[in-house]
């Protein structure tokens, strides 16, 4: 079986710094990582491959340095890495991103066999829209399975798949046809450490690098800024709250006195609260 996993290289967001004066993002020197949510997708893909045989191709769209992420994924155990990189892709919103990725997936299918399953993460930690997975599914006409927590059955001969997915207020068990697109829920598996052999292979492997033309993309109007219906008009810092927190005196006071003071001040700001709490406590 052939499985494609889409991974995105993202800034390690814990370390993002915002310039205090200009409110712009300072990317210089910020380390990058594989979007953490994508690792669950990669792990699930590797498990399917290990169980059913086949290959796992990882695909990323990004600047040339995104090659690092592919090498890391190979080091975890993926078989092949494809880097989609072209200045025409710069400024892509999710619609343009899903266009470019789905074209590359078609090309991957022509080159190494049509994938039965395409995986993405649930969302990224930078753009954080969760829109690219559904976008790829629609563009390629794949069955869309989002927020999947477990894959219980894959029937390659019968071309079907059964999964559990997180739904509102419960878990849906769904059965659908292959090929399918799965966005994997975090925490649904434990991501493996690659073997030393894989890590070495990842570091040395020849990656496949495609620009738009090599990926078979001809409609440049669907790519990058031109192919993006959304436009970022303004970036700004959140307003600071106008008033400072009211301090509750704690020095040289015991906890009981502090507690009484908190309650008194709270009731003073929310006069209706006491009655409501009493009603709740009385079980109305």
């Amino acid at each position: 079986m052939h499985i494609v996993v889409c991974i995105k290289q993202v800034p390690d967001s814990a370390q993002i710094r915002v310039h205090p004066v200009t409110n712009t993002i300072m990317r210089q020197g910020v380390p990058t990582i594989i979007n953490p949510y994508d690792l669950f997708a990669l792990e699930e893909a590797l498990r399917l491959r290990d169980r059913l045989g086949g290959t796992v191709t990882v695909l990323t769209m990004g600047p040339p340095m995104a090659e690092d992420s592919l090498r890391k994924a190979l080091g975890i155990g993926a078989d092949r890495g494809v880097l989609l990189t072209d200045r025409f892709f710069a400024g892509s919103d999710t619609l343009a991103t899903s266009f470019a990725l789905s074209q590359a997936i078609l090309k991957i299918g022509e080159t190494w066999g049509v994938p039965e399953v395409v995986f993405t993460g649930k969302q990224t930690i930078d753009g954080d829209t969760a829109q690219v997975g559904p976008g790829i599914a629609r563009r390629l006409g794949l069955q869309q399975l989002t927020y999947v927590s477990a894959i219980s059955e894959v029937d390659l001969a019968g071309k079907s798949i059964t999964v559990s997915r997180r739904a509102e207020g419960g878990v849906q068990e769904l059965k659908t046809a292959l090929p399918a697109l799965i966005t994997m829920l975090e925490g649904s598996n434990e991501v493996r450490r690659g073997s030393i052999g894989d890590v070495l292979r990842g570091a040395r492997a020849e990656l496949v690098t495609w620009n738009a033309a090599a990926a078979g993309i001809t409609e440049m109007g669907n790519c990058g800024l031109r192919g993006s219906p959304t436009v970022v008009k303004r970036v700004f810092a959140p307003k600071a709250r106008a008033t400072k927190a009211v301090p509750i005196e704690t020095r040289e006071r015991d906890a009981e006195t502090i507690a009484e003071d908190i309650i008194a001040q709270l009731y003073a700001t929310q006069p209706a609260l006491e009655a409501e709490l009493l009603r709740t406590a009385a079980g109305y």
């Binding site: 954080d128 989002t146 207020g169 068990e173 769904l174 993006s228 436009v231 810092a237 927190a245 502090i258």
Partner: protein
């Protein structure tokens, strides 16, 4: 001054062309009404409140869109949509739509949009809403802005959708200039619940799905409801007590639970508590957890990182207990208690317990 960092956003402010002719007939504001297991998701009602303001500003109508399996049930639900100030409700009833599935819902939604042509279309950023919105926007080839915290109409009559970026440290305003509808998702509890007007009436437009079960490839085998249904209540609780790493041990989380219980509220915590296995992920509050909007939020031993802050800022009153007087949480809390949460939480629990039970006997 030569070292100024590069601007974060590619500036395309000058890109505005005239709206293509085919989109000029697109009018009115729509809200997708998430209706499952016989209930409307509260986020849909919150969006009607927001949608009403946008519709008024544009001088157009506000409509809800209700999909489901049972016509009578949808008609009943439509009353609630009217009472939350929708002028009309589009109803599509078909057995195929009984349980949410992406394929038939996407088909019906894109048909409805193509037929009735709304200019703005809002959905809740729930697992259902996100699953549907991404598929619908891609099919329509229009823009979709995720997880907005603020919606407005700009001087040119287009939707300005503001969302947090980079974990909430910045906000950005996104427009969908040359495409319609302008689509956006908004998380539960980010917008206030509007008042309802009992008895308010509106119109209904029924739409035929024209679908057959045999054509739908995905089948729902089972639905397993969540065991602890209370967990889902966190987002909607009036009182929330939460703990952070300042609690120092998983046992001390009991102090948080006890206070929440006396107040008849819910409890939760910061993300490291989930990562350490001290509590379940669905109790996490913040950017990658729940957004809450309680009347009272008590945060004990939480530093107030930006990712936590964005999930709690809608609270009416925030009481923060922290040993560090410089903790960032005091920048957005209403009451600052500089002290040891492990001592103050039980004292607060006792004090509330006394007041709430004594008064109860007296009354």
């Amino acid at each position: 001054m030569g070292t100024a960092p590069t601007p974060a956003a590619p500036s395309r402010a000058g890109m505005k062309k005239e709206l293509p002719e085919r989109f000029k007939s697109y009018k009115h504001v729509w809200v997708f009404i998430e209706y499952e297991h016989g209930e409307i998701h509260p986020v849909s009602l919150e969006l009607l409140g927001e949608g009403r303001k946008l519709a008024n500003k544009l001088g157009v109508e506000l409509a809800g869109v209700l999909l489901g399996g049972n016509r009578a049930a949808l008609q009943e639900a439509a009353v609630q949509v009217w009472e939350h100030d929708a002028d009309l409700v589009y109803i599509c009833a078909d057995p195929v739509l009984e349980h949410y599935r992406n394929e038939p819902y996407t088909k019906v939604m894109t048909d409805l949009v193509n037929t009735y042509q709304p200019e703005i279309f809002l959905l809740g950023a729930t697992v259902l809403g996100r699953d549907l919105a991404g598929a619908v926007a891609t099919t329509l080839l229009t823009g979709l802005t995720a997880d907005c915290t603020e919606l407005a109409i700009d001087d040119e009559g287009s939707l300005a959708a503001t969302r947090p970026t980079f974990g909430g440290s910045l906000l950005c305003t996104i427009h969908t200039l040359n495409f319609r509808p302008q689509m956006a998702t908004i998380r539960p509890r980010v917008m206030a619940m509007p008042p309802s007007a009992p008895g308010k009436k509106g119109r209904i437009i029924e739409h035929a799905a024209g679908l057959h079960e045999i054509d739908i490839i995905t089948k729902v085998l089972r639905f397993i409801p969540d065991r602890d249904s209370n967990k889902a209540q966190l987002a909607y609780a009036d009182i929330v007590v939460a703990g952070g790493m300042g609690l120092r041990s998983p046992e001390n989380l009991q102090l948080v639970r006890a206070l929440a219980s006396v107040l008849g509220g819910e409890w939760g915590g910061s993300r490291p508590l989930v990562q350490k296995g001290w509590m379940d992920a669905d109790r996490q509050i913040g950017q990658t957890g729940k957004t809450i909007r309680p009347k009272v939020y008590i945060a004990a031993g939480i530093s107030g990182a930006i990712q936590h802050r964005v999930g709690v800022e809608g609270a009416d009153t925030i009481i923060a207990i922290n040993t560090d007087r410089n903790a960032p949480i005091f920048d957005f809390a209403h009451f600052a208690v500089v002290g040891n949460a492990i001592e103050i939480l039980p004292a607060l629990t006792d004090a509330f317990r006394k007041r709430l039970s004594v008064n109860r006997l007296a009354g």
